[in-house]
Every structure is written in C-alpha cells, then in structure tokens.
C-alpha cells in the first residue's frame, strides 16, 4: 500500500475546518438560546400560557422525530420551491440550529427539573417573583447541571455538521471530498479529515471539562461529585 500526502492540502482543509467550526459554534449558540426558551415553556408554561407549552412540545417532538439530513434537504432543496433560497452555509446553519434547539430543550428541561423543588419555594418565600426565581435561582443551577449533556451535543453537532457538504458547503468534509476526488486519494484524505475531527473533538472535550470544573459549586454536582 502506498499512501500519499501533500502538505499543500492542509491550508485548504484548514479553511474547511474554519467553516465547520463557525457553523457548529453558531448553531450551538442559537440552539442554546432556543433550547432554553423551549425548555422553560415546557416546564413553566401552564394555565393561560399552556398553548405555548403545547407549541414548544410539538416543536421538540417534530425536530427530534425526523432526521437532521431530511431537515437539511427540506431547507436547502425544498424551500426554494416556495421562493426561499439560502446559501449552503445558511441552509446548514438553519437546519442544524432548528434541530439542536429541540435536543438542547430536552437537556435543559432535564436540568431545570432536577433543581430541587424547595429552591423555587424558598425563592418565592423571600418575595422573588416567579420570573426572578427562575432567573436568579433555577437557571444558574440548571446551566451547571446541563454542561455534561450539552458537551455531548456540541461534539455530536460538530461531527454531524459534516452532512452540509451534501448541499455544497465547503466545510472540512466538503473540502476533503473535493481534494480526494481531484487526486483520487480517498483513503488519505478521509483519514486526515477524520483525524482533524478527532483532534477538535478532543480539544472540545478538554475545554468543556475545564468549563465544568471552573463553574462547579460544592453540592451542585453531576455524577455524584461534590454532593
């Protein structure tokens, strides 16, 4: 077997990686925002707000219940039929953000619900409004509890962003595939692409572990630590 690697490929792959990282960062940020709102509605929207609860629940079921790839195809190739045209990057971002928001909503919901009921009661007993209690007592605790599942989602989305090459985006996967096809060096290119993904995943894992440690508060542990 004769493996060939040309160092000149690296800058191109680097540009692809930048796009992959941008895409992942943007979709995770939008997804976190959307996911938090969805989760709050799923947990707290009752009474006259219950239509919002139903909407949020329907959203979560819809976007978790269908494949990300199908969602991407609908956004990029389907929406032009009704006059909505996105660039490959924007299509990828829209589909991924919509999708991860649904998953993140579930992670946030789990975290919010694992904050002990007494915390809300104590906050209300001091005279905080429900919203103040959510903002100053529930969310700060939930955000710490959500870090481990959120980190998984981050890594998942980084890797699954590779599907955007199918709509023509020049992400890491897309660039690798183009170079590979040009040079008939599929094994080399995809191995290198895989290695780059792996390196970024490891870096993210370490970063998130550091973040978790930095924000850790005694007694507010996950997996039994510090309790």
């Amino acid at each position: 077997m004769n493996l060939v690697f040309d160092w000149a490929w690296l800058p191109q792959l680097g540009r692809g990686l930048v796009l992959t990282v941008e895409l992942t960062a943007a979709c995770m940020a939008l997804g976190a925002l959307g996911g938090l709102v969805l989760a709050l509605l799923r947990v707290y929207a009752r009474g006259w707000l219950s239509p919002l609860y139903a909407l949020a629940s329907a959203y979560v079921h819809l976007f978790r219940g269908t494949p990300l790839l199908v969602q991407l195809m609908i956004v990029h190739f389907g929406l032009p039929n009704v006059g909505i045209v996105f660039t490959p990057f924007v299509s990828g971002l829209v589909a991924m953000a919509l999708n991860t928001a649904a998953y993140q909503a579930e992670y946030f919901r789990g975290a919010i619900q694992s904050v002990k009921a007494g915390q809300m009661m104590a906050a209300r007993s001091v005279g905080l409004t429900r919203l103040q209690a959510i903002r100053h007592v529930i969310i700060p605790q939930a955000l710490r509890l959500v870090i481990p599942p959120w980190s998984n989602e981050l890594i998942y989305m980084l890797k699954y962003s590779s599907i955007v090459y199918m709509v023509g985006a020049a992400d890491l996967m897309g660039v690798g595939r183009t170079i590979a096809a040009k040079n008939f060096r599929f094994l080399e290119l995809f191995l290198v692409v895989a290695a780059i993904y792996l390196a970024v995943v490891l870096l993210l894992t370490l970063t998130m572990r550091w973040v978790e440690k930095r924000l850790r508060v005694p007694g507010l542990g996950t997996s039994g630590r510090g309790a």
Binding site: M121, V126, T129
Partner: protein, 249 residues
Amino acid sequence: MPLLRVEDLHKRYGTEEVLRGVSLTVVKGETKVVIGPSGTGKSTLLRCINRLTEPDRGRVWLGDTEVTGKGTNLNRIRSQIGFVFQDFNLFTHLTALDNVRLGPLRVKGLGKKEATERAMAELARVGLADKAGAYPAELSGGQQQRVSIARALAMDPQLILFDEPTSALDPELIGEVLGVMVKLAEEGMTMIVVTHEMGFARSVADEIVFMERGVIVEQGSPEKMFRSPEVARTGDFLRKISELYGDAA
C-alpha cells in the same frame, strides 16, 4: 390590633382535608409555638399563611392587609413574612452571603453595598460572619439553618414562620439553632414556630397551640398547657412527646 389574623383556613389534598377550619391571631412580639402529631396540618398551616400553598377557604391578614385578598401584592407580603424551612432550602449555587443578600438586592431593591452590609450584619447576628464565603454544602446542617434564618431576617420581616426548623438536624446541632431562635424571641421578633422541641416551647413560647387532624384542639400559655390542659388529648400528647424528645432546649 393583632399583627397576624388567620380565619377559618381550610385546605384539602385530594380526599384528605388537612386543615379543617383553623383560626388564630398573633400579636406583635409574640412567640407562638404550634405542636401536634405528624400529618396534622401544621406545616400546611404555615404555608397557607404566606400562600406558598393556596388555601381552599379562609382568610389571612397581616396587619390591615389581607394576604388572601384578590389584588394583594403577594411578593411584597411574602417579603414581610420570613419562612424557615425544615430542610433549609438554601440556594445551592450561592454562598452564604449571596443567599442572604439575594432578597435585599432583588426584592427590596437595595444597592449592592447596602445589601452586602445588611447581609453581613444578619450573618453576624446568627454567628456566621466568618462563613460568608462558604457554599451551603460546605456548612453543617445547623450552620445552614442559621444562614436560612439570616436570609429571613435580612428582609426585615414583620413575622417569621419556622417550619420544624430543627427536625432535619443531628441532635448535637439543634442547640445552636434553638439558641438563635431564643435570642430572636428575646429581641421581640414575632414568630410562629412549628416544633417538637418541648423545652423550647416551655421556656420561650408565649402561647402553645396544640393541633390535631386539621383543627386546633387547645391553646394557652405553656404553664397551662403543661400543667393543666383542659383537653385530655393535649396532656397525652405532651407527655408522649416530652418522653420522645426530652425536655431540654
């Protein structure tokens, strides 16, 4: 005029009627101790007073404000009624100082400097100024409960409700919490205390209320309740509970 008036409170959970018409009044500076068997509605009574639990029927007044009134600003009322929970319920993610400071900052709208000074003063009052930077998990149960008393005090409440404040504590930690409560009573704080600590009831209470099955069976001075209760059941309970928990505060 009494500081707190409770009139004919009723509360039902499913088929079980936990409160079946409870009425009482508390005057300023009074320490009222509520005793009675478990599951008798004592905690529910406290929670109905500041509407952490919504009563089904009955009315509550704090001064001349009706707590149970329709247009009442509940958050404002609650900020004037301190609540001390059996299991402390300190905010897990906040230090002792931040636990005590949160209400003054967010409810009373004090500036950071003023809120901090007040919180530190209240922590000092419960003997925990040196623990200001500690998280709840780093404190003993007794210390946590004292922080939670400081949290209630920092709102400068007209009245504090104590819901079995020492029941979750190891025996050797009970004394430090009762000590703080005795001091508060002596300083003239108005308090309703649900407890099984008969020593505390006997020495600190202005009046003892005996509740059973959702109603007040008898109430009176510790002297009367311990020496010559009018209802036989009161005497039985007091004897039994004194044997169980001892008599020392």
